[in-house]
Amino acid sequence: MVMPDTDSRMNHFHHRWLHDQIPGWEREGILTPSAAHALRERHPVEVIGIRTAQFALGGMGALLIGTGLIAVLAYNWDDFSRPVRLLWAFLPLLLAQIFSFTVVRKQEPAPWLCESAGLLQAFAAGGCLAIVSQVYHLGGVWQDFLLGWMLLSLPLAWVLRSQMVLGLYLVGICIWSLSPGTAESLWYESATLYPVLLLAVVPCCGLDYLPGCSGQRPGGSLPTFMRWILVLSASLGFCAAASHAADSAQTVSTWPSQVWMWTLTVGTILLFPLRADAMAEPGRRKPQGILGACWIFTSGLAMTFSSLNKDLPKGVSGALSVPWTWGILAVFAVFAIQAARQHRWVLLSIGSLALTPLMFLPCLSLFSTPGLLAWGCTLHVFFVGVLLIGLEFFGKRGAPRLGAFLLAALVIARMSDSDFSFLTKGLVFIGTGAGFLIFNLQTVRQKAVKNPAPL
């Protein structure tokens, strides 16, 4: 099996161009069938991406029909009696359900049909609930309505394999979990329910990315935009759940505890285990890596400032008194062990930055030296930057440019927080910038040696 190309700078359009040329080259005898197959595997094209236009148009059509119906009804709404209004509430739902049944009964329904049917039925169900609420002046907050609507729409994502409905569900439960609640809410009325709600999408996303699982998700792998929605929803939803857990524990120093719990949550998502072929995919198809690295780098650099981390030890101690934190730590540990087994050293080293305050907590309780945590964080960030570069020298897959960027950012952060003179700061910045440029040049040359340009 040929592994997809992840090192070259070919993007989706290049891959697509290549796929368009391959049949012609085969006919002319330039490529053998096996070479053509190998090229297709090495430079895969997202099949789902080609169908994006179909999805978009189908979904847009469904939305326009729904919106148009609502506008027409709204114009004469006050003139209708209650039974007539209820008829208008249920009629679109009935028609949408008939359409969905027709689509499901087909042998191989076209994806755009499934998307349109799913969206229509989801919005018809939501519209029906909204109209009934209006007709009978039902109370309640919009967050509860949103959750009910999302739960009623979820089976459509399962049955019709509708990615639009799945995206709607993920966005809906994320918004619901982020809406302000009270610390005294029961767990199923608060963001703590989010993990259970997210588990419900497993039949749609499948487990095909997890190690040990085989087989493809029916209908192909999740497209890139859906992965971004999934990761954003999961990150925000789990962070909201962590915040609620911190709020509920009234003895906790809330703000620093929450920030550290968010960092730990993002670090756990960063280390989410993947199968070997999923690991080989390009970075943009693994949004948990990009988003996780951005947050953890930012928080890691922020922790090097004494003024920002002075309440952090107290916050971390407080967070450790919350059972939710121990749950995240346990999952983090499991994911970290799996990442070590898969030699994902880059992600492990980045993820370790989330544990920095925890690692230095025992020292802080023994030695009350001011600035100890800031120095400890600085050393840890420095070590991670060096490791990301050094992995390449040990024949492992590293991230040298990322490491160099982290070191440069660390230098800038430390200089801005120091009392050195402008001359010293200037010389350090010049030296760092020059080193950065030389390093970049070396990396480009090394890549050119590894992947020489064709003659």
């Binding site: 709204a74 709404w77 006050d78 209820l86 509430a89 249920f90 739902l93 359900q97 969905s100 049944f101 499901v104 009964r105 039925q121 169900a125 939501g126 029906c128 609930l129 909204a130 009934v132 609420s133 209006q134 007709v135 009978y136 002046h137 039902l138 109370g139 919009w142 309505f145 949103l146 009910g148 609507w149 009623l152 089976p155 459509l156 399962w158 049955v159 019709l160 009270t182 005294e184 809410s185």
Partner: protein, 183 residues
């Protein structure tokens, strides 16, 4: 293999019909068989991002005596009776339904004071169409000096309360707004 998707879709369709129909049946049952009460209230005009514009019906009697062992957000029962002038008044709160008389299921909100606690009423919204609600607000501000002259007509049956209509000076608000000139 198609049997399972059809089964799940059928179950989803049943739920999508069943939940609103159950709500309709409950509301219609209360409207048909419930006892009518008239409650003095105020009615400002906020907005629900999903269900649209409404008048927030707030009974003037919005704080009730604190029951024993009150927990924030807990479900409570408020007894309802009619005073000598024919207006509904809400009595004490209890954790269980009263043995006699009509009562309304409410929920406590906010921190209670020593003697009273705020409650969330089940008949808190009167929906108007997008155009009428802000016009209602403007017309009310212009023509009604005492903004507490709204009367909410509610039907109560075994703890469930349904808002039947919103009345101003004996006339339904919708009819007043239809007849009133545009602001």
């Amino acid at each position: 293999m198609k049997a399972l998707p059809l089964l799940v879709l059928s179950f989803a369709a049943l739920l999508q019909w069943g939940i609103p129909l159950r709500g309709i049946w409950e509301q219609e049952h209360v409207l048909a068989h419930g006892t009518l009460f008239k409650v003095k209230c105020a009615a400002p005009d906020p907005y629900d991002p999903i269900r649209g514009r409404y008048l927030a019906v707030r009974p003037l009697q919005d704080r009730l005596p604190v029951p024993l062992n009150l927990k924030k957000g807990s479900e409570l029962f408020a007894s309802v009776s009619v005073d000598s002038e024919g207006w509904a008044t809400f009595g004490g709160l209890s954790h269980t339904p009263p043995a006699e008389g009509e009562f309304v299921k409410v929920r406590s909100v906010g921190r209670p004071s020593e003697e009273t606690v705020a409650v969330q009423w089940p008949f808190a919204r009167f929906y108007l169409n997008e155009k009428m609600a802000p016009e209602a607000d403007q017309w009310i501000a212009k023509n009604i000096s005492d903004q507490n002259r709204f009367i909410a007509e509610i039907r109560v049956l075994k703890g469930k309360a349904v808002l039947a209509d919103l009345v101003v000076e004996g006339k339904p608000l919708r009819e007043i707004l239809k007849a009133a000139p545009a602001p």
